[in-house]
C-alpha cells in the first residue's frame, strides 16, 4: 500500500501568553501508522493534539491534516477524525449508550443503533450499557469515551492518553484493536507518558517542554542510543558500549572469531525510559549552557 502523508507539521509554534507550549515543531505522520506522542506532563502533547483537531490556532507555522488546514477546514477535518480527550468528557447522568448515541448523531451515518451496540460490545460494556455513567469507575469511563471516538468509524483517531487508569488486560485489547484499525488504513495519533505503551507505536515523537527531541521508530530510538556488550571468556569479562549495536556488533565480534573460549555474550540495551531521560537531560543541559553563555556575552 502506497503511504501518504496524513499529517504534515512545519515549524509549528504555540504560545499561551508568555508560555511557549510548542517551539518550532516539524514532523510528518504517514497514513495507517500508530504515531505516539511521548513526553512528561507539560511536554506539549495535548496542545499538539488540540492544534490538529482545530480546537486552538497555532501562533506561527503551518500544519495540515489529511490535506486540510485545521484552522480553515475544521468542518472537513472533523468528519474524518475521532477524538478522545484526556478526561472522559461524558454526560454522567446519561448511560454509555445515550452518550455514544448523542455524539454519533452529529455525523450523518446510517444504522446508528447497530453501530452503537457494536462499539459498546467492543469496549466490553454491553452488560452496563443502560447504567448511568456516574456509577462507573475511571477505567470504565475511559472505555465509554473511546467508544464515543470510534463510533463513526473515523479515518484518523486522536487519543489523548487513552489507556490511563485502565487495567492491563483491557489495555492489551485496546492496542490490539488499534493495530486492527491501522491495518484498515486508519491513522492513530496517541499521546502517552507510559514507556511500555510507547513501544507499541510505529513511530514516536518525543516532546519535552514544547521541543521535539526525536522522531523515529521505537526500535531505532533504542539502537541510536547506547547498548552495552559484555563478553565472557572464562572468568574474564570484557565490557564495551556500542551505538546502533545491530550494525556494530558483527565487527565487534570479529576479533573473537567466536572461539570456543567465548562462553557467554550479553547485550544490555537501554530502556526507552533511560533513552528519553537522557535526551531530556541533554536538552536541559544545553539550555543551561546557552543561558550561561548569554549571561557572559
Amino acid at each position: 500500500m502506497k503511504q501518504t502523508t496524513a499529517v504534515h507539521i512545519q515549524k509549528l509554534d504555540k504560545n499561551f501568553g508568555e508560555v511557549k507550549a510548542l517551539k518550532s515543531v516539524s514532523l510528518k505522520i504517514e497514513t495507517g501508522q500508530i504515531f505516539g506522542l511521548l513526553g512528561a506532563n507539560g511536554a506539549g502533547k495535548t496542545t499538539l493534539i488540540r492544534l490538529l483537531i482545530g480546537s486552538t490556532k497555532p501562533s506561527s507555522g503551518h500544519l495540515t491534516v489529511s490535506g486540510f488546514d485545521p484552522t480553515k477546514g475544521k468542518r472537513a477535518i472533523r468528519k474524518l477524525i475521532g477524538y478522545m480527550p484526556q478526561s472522559p468528557a461524558l454526560y454522567e447522568d446519561l448511560t454509555p449508550r445515550e452518550n455514544i448515541h448523542f455524539f454519533c448523531q452529529a455525523h450523518r451515518i446510517e444504522n446508528i443503533s447497530q453501530r452503537v451496540d457494536d462499539v459498546i460490545a467492543f469496549v466490553g460494556l454491553s452488560e452496563r450499557a443502560h447504567d448511568p455513567v456516574y456509577k462507573f469507575s475511571g477505567g470504565m469511563k475511559q472505555r465509554v469515551s473511546l467508544a464515543c471516538a470510534l463510533v463513526h468509524q473515523p479515518k484518523m483517531l486522536l487519543l489523548d492518553e487513552p489507556t490511563s487508569g485502565i487495567d492491563p488486560k483491557l489495555r492489551e485489547a485496546f492496542w490490539e484493536h488499534f493495530r486492527e484499525l491501522t491495518s484498515k488504513g486508519v491513522t492513530i495519533i496517541v499521546s502517552t507518558h507510559q514507556m511500555n505503551e510507547a513501544m507499541y507505536c510505529d513511530r514516536l515523537a518525543i516532546l519535552h517542554q514544547g521541543v521535539l527531541l526525536a522522531n523515529d521508530t521505537p526500535r531505532q530510538l533504542l539502537w541510536n542510543n547506547r547498548s552495552r556488550i559484555k563478553i565472557w571468556r572464562g572468568e574474564q569479562v570484557t565490557e564495551k558500549d556500542l551505538i546502533n549495536y545491530p550494525e556494530q556488533l558483527p565487527g565487534e565480534l570479529q576479533s573473537y572469531g567466536l572461539d570456543s573460549s567465548v562462553s557467554r555474550i550479553e547485550i544490555e540495551e537501554d530502556t526507552l525510559e533511560t533513552v528519553v531521560l537522557r535526551m531530556i537531560n541533554e536538552q536541559e543541559a544545553g539550555y543551561l549552557k546557552e543561558a550561561k553563555d548569554d549571561q557572559y556575552d
Partner: protein, 248 residues
Amino acid sequence: MTNMIKRVGVVTGRVLNQLRRDHRFVGISLVFPLVIIYFIKVVFDALASPSFNISVYVVPYAAFIIHFITFILTAIVLVRERTAGTLARMFVSGYNPIEIVSGYLLAYTVLATVQSLLILIELNWIFELGYDLGQLASIYLVMWVLAIVSMAIGMLVSNFARNEGQVFPFIPLVLLSVILSGIILPIERLPEWVQALSFLTPLYYVNEVIQKLIIGDGLFDDWPKLIGLLAYGLIIVSTATLSLRESD
C-alpha cells in the same frame, strides 16, 4: 438546514433527558422560587396595611426571582459542560454554536414554561391578585419571555467563565439590575445617567410592561417596551452564540 434543525433537536433531546434525571436541578429551579415568593408574602403581611396595593411590587419581584434563579442555574450548567470537556467534544463531533445554544434554549424553555406557570399560580393564590384570565395570560407570557432571556444571559456569562466560581462575580450585576429596573423605586426619581443604564437590564422592560398589565392595559398597549424585551433577548442570544468558544 434540515440537518441543522435535526441536530438542534438532538441537543434539545439530550438536555431534556439529563434534566429528567437531575432531580436536584429541576427541584431547585421549580421549588426555590415558590419558597422565596412565600416568604415575600410573609414579609408583606407583616409590613403592609390592608389598603396597600401589593401587586405593584409582588409581580415584578416574582419576575426578578425567575430572572435571578434561571440566570445562575443556566450559567453554572453551561460552565460545567465546559469544565467537563463535553462542550469541546460536542464541537469536535460536529455540533456548531447555533445548534448548541438553540438546543439548550429549547430544552430549558420547557423548564421555564413550567416554572413560570407554577409561580403565577402561587402568586394568584397566596396574594389573591384577582386578575382576569387575559391579564394572567399576558403576565405569564412576559415572565416566560424573561425566563428565556435570563437563560441566554446565563449562557453568555458562562462563555466568559472558566469554572463555576467565576460565575459569581457576575451576580452583583444581576442584583444591580433590580435598582435599575424601577422595581424598588420609579426610575424617574433616579439621576438621568442612571436612568440611561436601565435599558441594559431586561427587568426594566419587564417591569414597565407588567405595571401596565396590572392597571388593566393590554399586552400590546406599551408595545415599544415589549419589542424592547424581545430585541434585548435576540441580541443576547446572538451574542451568546457568537461568543461561544470551543476552547480558552
